[in-house]
């Protein structure tokens, strides 16, 4: 007998989990299901009609400037690849420090998360983006003024429209103190900001943050990708310098599974819609995030209209997430497999960030587990990863004949599937057919 497609073993497991818990399953990471993504696009590199630039010799610029619209000190990055907002609380202090070290080493930015800024993170990060979230945990004017940019978070790709739920296991003494919460409670975070609703009020909020920072730093607005075109237009109307669009593949530390798998739109579709919404607004920049893994993904996102990308899960994997080993003392490596087994997980498919039992020390507040990540070693791995991504991006851009990665354009792309062609609005490979385009 063949397996039931509708009620397959995964589905049976999910039903049993709900039957056991009496509530929705909560987990970490992003959407696991297959959705159209950057693998469904290909770059049309040069041949006879266009000439490639010589790799390793001829210049291909990666410098990226964000926030020139209003800020006295725009964010200037060496590469268009940034680290997304992930909270101390969700991640260990070691993981936050490692991300800061990596970003600083390669000349890019990292971002705080729900719960505020840690001194380690500020010290280790050359360019640090400070998030202003609905919960406002740990939000304060000193850290605001210490930041290099401010990101107002309306939502994230894993759960657009949803609030947070950080389970008590991860609310240790330091996290609790930073968030002004009793230790060990399951914290419920708000889905809306406490003091404004709607883009007209957001305009006033943005002005407040500019006044409090003396118009020095750029203000980003981050949205989870749903009604992307309208949301991006409204973020611009409200005065954002940079719009961050997080597609449904974007990760999370702890979110209801139903949210992760069933809300929002794929990053591929979101980038194109966001770029359309920004057409004619050259001074407002676009950061795309959600499932970016490789330099090829970066090049394709830039070609579709992003000015930079942001990545979370990819950086965590580079740190050691889902690896079988962790950083032991004196350069040794420890066996993480028993830790995964204790969580009912296996390395390679672990999504137990929400439990705080991370066996490689990335997504935990357990003092014994968090020391399994060496911030220096972890930082080195992430820096290597970011450098590799940047090199892949310039390699592909050069091959398309571009002297600047920001010169990549939608016309450099074709799609492998009709779905991706329709979402990205680029031709199906080998044709000049763009689904939905009039007159074709």
């Amino acid at each position: 007998m063949s397996e039931n497609y509708t009620f397959n073993p995964d589905v049976l497991g999910e039903i049993r989990e709900r039957a056991r818990l009496g509530r929705y399953p909560i987990r970490g990471m992003g959407a696991r299901r297959a959705v159209p993504n950057f693998d469904d696009l290909l770059l049309l590199t040069a041949s006879a009609s266009r000439y490639p630039l010589e790799g390793y010799r001829e210049r291909c610029a990666t410098r990226t400037v964000l926030g020139e619209r209003n800020a006295r000190e725009p964010v200037v990055l060496d590469i268009p690849i940034t680290i997304a907002g992930m909270s101390f609380g969700s991640l260990s202090a070691q993981a936050k420090e490692a991300l800061g070290r990596a970003a600083s080493e390669v000349g890019t930015s990292t971002t705080t998360g729900d719960g505020g800024m840690t001194p380690e993170e500020r010290r280790s990060s050359k360019t640090l983006v400070y998030q202003c979230l609905p919960s406002r945990y740990g939000f304060n004017p000193d850290d605001l003024r210490a930041a290099d940019a401010v990101e107002i978070v309306l939502g994230q790709g894993a759960k657009p429209g949803g609030g947070g739920m950080l389970l008590g296991q991860k609310v240790g003494a330091r996290v609790a103190a930073m968030r002004t919460l009793p230790e060990g409670v399951d914290q419920r975070s708000a889905s809306r900001h406490p003091d404004w609703t709607g883009p007209d009020d957001l305009r006033i909020k943005i002005e407040e943050l500019r006044e409090a920072t003396d118009w020095r730093v750029p203000i980003y607005v981050k949205v989870g990708a749903t009604r992307t075109f309208h949301d991006v237009r409204l973020a611009v109307a409200a005065g954002a310098d940079v719009v961050v669009v997080d597609g449904m593949q974007g990760g999370t530390g702890a979110t209801q599974d139903a949210f992760i798998e069933h809300t929002g739109i794929p990053t591929l579709a979101a980038v194109r819609q966001a770029a359309d919404a920004l057409a004619g607004n050259d001074h407002v920049k676009l950061i795309a995030s959600g499932g970016i893994r490789s330099g090829a993904d970066v090049a394709k996102a830039l070609a579709l209209g992003a000015d930079a990308v942001s990545l979370g899960v990819g950086a965590l994997i580079a740190l050691g997430c889902n690896d079988t080993e962790y950083d032991g003392p004196d350069g040794t490596r420890g066996d993480a497999r028993p830790g995964y087994a204790a969580l009912g997980m296996a390395p390679g498919s672990c999504v137990a960030c929400h439990t705080g039992g991370c066996p490689v020390g990335v997504a935990t507040q357990d003092p014994a587990l968090s020391t399994r990540l060496d911030p220096v070693e972890g930082g080195r791995r992430v820096a290597n990863y970011l450098r590799a991504l940047a090199m892949e991006t310039t390699m592909l851009a050069r091959a398309c004949g571009k002297a600047d990665v920001h010169h990549l354009e939608p016309e450099d792309l074709v799609a492998l599937t009709v779905e991706a062609a329709a979402m990205a609005r680029v031709p199906l490979a080998g044709t000049d057919w763009i689904p939905g385009r009039e007159g074709r």
Partner: protein, 289 residues
């Protein structure tokens, strides 16, 4: 998302200053809705002659109005056609004579002015400073999901003498639109606020008064809204259950005013002594002449 202001005069001595007072209010909410604006004026004889019906039109101009027995005025992109006949008779005649025009306002003594652009520029183009009357409502728009055109501007006036303006966004308007279309209601735009206006008009036609119609609207619509509804002799305000969009009401012996923000009230005569309060969620507040 948007800015709303409205002024309902109790003291007739203020009638010559209605437009100037409204202009002062409108300028203070222009940042809330910089892309377009609309104004409803009740009782300005030069725009909508007393004792006659007036329809306000977009998409035409006075030279195209070749109709017998009507008077024609214009302000900005709006053409106003008036005649001493019932409103529906005039609206039917205008629709037949100018099929390409969009009727954006209808009612005795009611003129609707709408346009795309910065609200302050529009106020000048409409000559708002010289407008007179006993009641006026204005709206500045920051479009959320539908297009920025004059036809998408508030106020929506789809029933004889009734105007509705909205700040916020409805979350289930598509279904209600389909239901209304099923009941034979026609729409001029894809704006969610027009659904609110059509729903209310539909309820009024079924015999509800404004207050009852607004209570039904609260029951039926999801989303965030502050609504200001005016008729030839009344002025009403209601907010959603969560009261997510701002609203203030101020009341003196000489006037009743409503605005999204206090700054829009700050220039009104005698505001220092006014009773100023925020409307409670889902409670209908109304004033009648």
């Amino acid at each position: 998302m948007c800015g709303i202001v409205g002024l309902h005069l109790r003291d007739d001595a203020l009638r010559p200053r209605l437009g100037a007072l409204l202009r002062g209010m409108l300028c203070q909410v222009s940042e809330r809705g910089p892309d377009s604006a609309g104004i409803a004026v009740y009782g300005d004889d030069s725009l909508a002659p007393v004792g006659q019906a007036t329809v306000s039109l977009l998409g035409t101009d006075p030279s195209e109005v070749a109709m017998e027995g009507v008077t024609v005025a214009s302000r900005g992109d709006v053409t106003l056609v008036s005649a001493p006949v019932p409103t529906e008779v005039l609206a039917t005649r205008v629709a037949a004579a100018l099929p390409h025009a969009v009727i954006v306002g209808r009612g005795p003594g009611l003129a609707i002015l709408k346009g795309v652009g910065h609200p302050v520029t529009l106020a000048d183009r409409f000559g708002l400073d010289t407008v007179t009357g006993y009641q006026a409502v204005a709206h500045t728009r920051m479009a959320t999901e539908s297009a920025v055109t004059a036809a998408h501007c508030h106020p929506f006036s789809v029933e004889d003498g009734v105007c509705l303006v909205h700040n916020g966004s409805f979350a289930n308007h598509a279904t209600i639109r389909r239901e209304l279309i099923g009941d034979g209601v026609a729409f001029d735009s894809d704006n969610d606020s027009e659904v609110g206006a059509r729903f209310l008009a539909h309820r009024l036609a079924a015999g509800d008064d404004v207050e009852k119609g607004l209570r039904r609207l609260c029951e039926r619509f999801d989303g965030f809204y502050t609504l200001l509804v005016s008729t030839a002799d009344s002025f009403a305000v209601v907010r959603d259950a969560i009261a997510c969009k701002p609203a203030l009401i101020a009341e003196t012996d000489r006037w009743v005013a409503m605005a999204s923000e206090y700054r829009a009230l700050a220039t009104l005569p005698g505001v220092e002594g006014a009773r100023v309060f925020e409307p409670e969620p889902e409670e209908v507040y109304s004033w009648t002449r």
